[in-house]
Symmetry: C2
Subunit: 142 residues, 2 copies
């Protein structure tokens, strides 16, 4: 699975969350050898959960795997990762984080780089448009 394919899954998850009335942030986790480990989206609204963000939901949906399964993986996420998701990527040895955009929110990218994680910004207008639409429609939720 290449970057475009994996990132498309993250975007699909973000749209799914939007369609559920939730925060439109999605993620996909792909192993070092290019296999999809997990995919998910923000579940703050859907589950009433403060810990199920896009990235952590992708991890949650991957189930309980040995540490080696995550080592060297790539996390695709439609939005710059918050501090918690930044830390989750570090904990599980994610070595690349591919983000959709960081104009609507700038998370822990600098800290990821400081800790040796590669960060790639896809500068996706689609992701930005979706977030802006959501923030405009539900400012109290964002």
């Amino acid at each position: 699975m290449n970057d475009q394919e994996a990132f498309a899954i993250a975007v699909e998850e973000a749209k799914l969350s939007y369609s559920e009335g939730g925060v439109p942030i999605g993620a996909a986790l792909v192993s070092k050898d290019g296999k999809l480990i997990g995919r998910g989206h923000n579940m703050r609204v859907q589950l009433g959960s403060p810990i199920h963000h896009g990235e952590t939901s992708a991890l949650y949906n991957s189930g309980r795997l040995p540490a080696s399964a995550y080592a060297g993986s790539t996390m695709y996420t439609t939005l710059s990762p918050c501090d918690m998701c930044t830390g989750a990527c570090l904990l599980y040895g994610v070595s690349r984080v591919v983000i959709g955009e960081n104009n609507t929110y700038l998370g822990g990218e600098a800290y990821l780089k400081q800790r040796g994680v590669e960060v790639v910004n896809m500068k996706s207008q689609e992701c930005q448009d979706l977030m802006e639409k959501f923030i405009k429609e539900k400012p109290e939720t964002w």
Copy 2:
């Protein structure tokens, strides 16, 4: 609720997890004005979840609260927080982290301090003994 009372809840949660066959790490989150917001324990074994650690379970069990509810809160945890839980504390504006011990595992304490969070180490022999017993009994789980 004072430090001793809140920390006792975190230890109680750690023991509960141990009794369930899980990783014996517990946490309690107390608001700025001293009220218990949430309590929980590591659920890696119980739920097969990579994101339900002690601290994140306490957050999860707090439900979905406004950001103001967490601001200035104290996270009590029986073990030094991993990168993910460190980030979760930063995301939710926890201003103090009280840990049981950091001899069996040293997490993101330095980064918490760097970001302005106070870190207090209770140097609890009880927490350390419980972790050591668990690691000895289930090295493959830890």
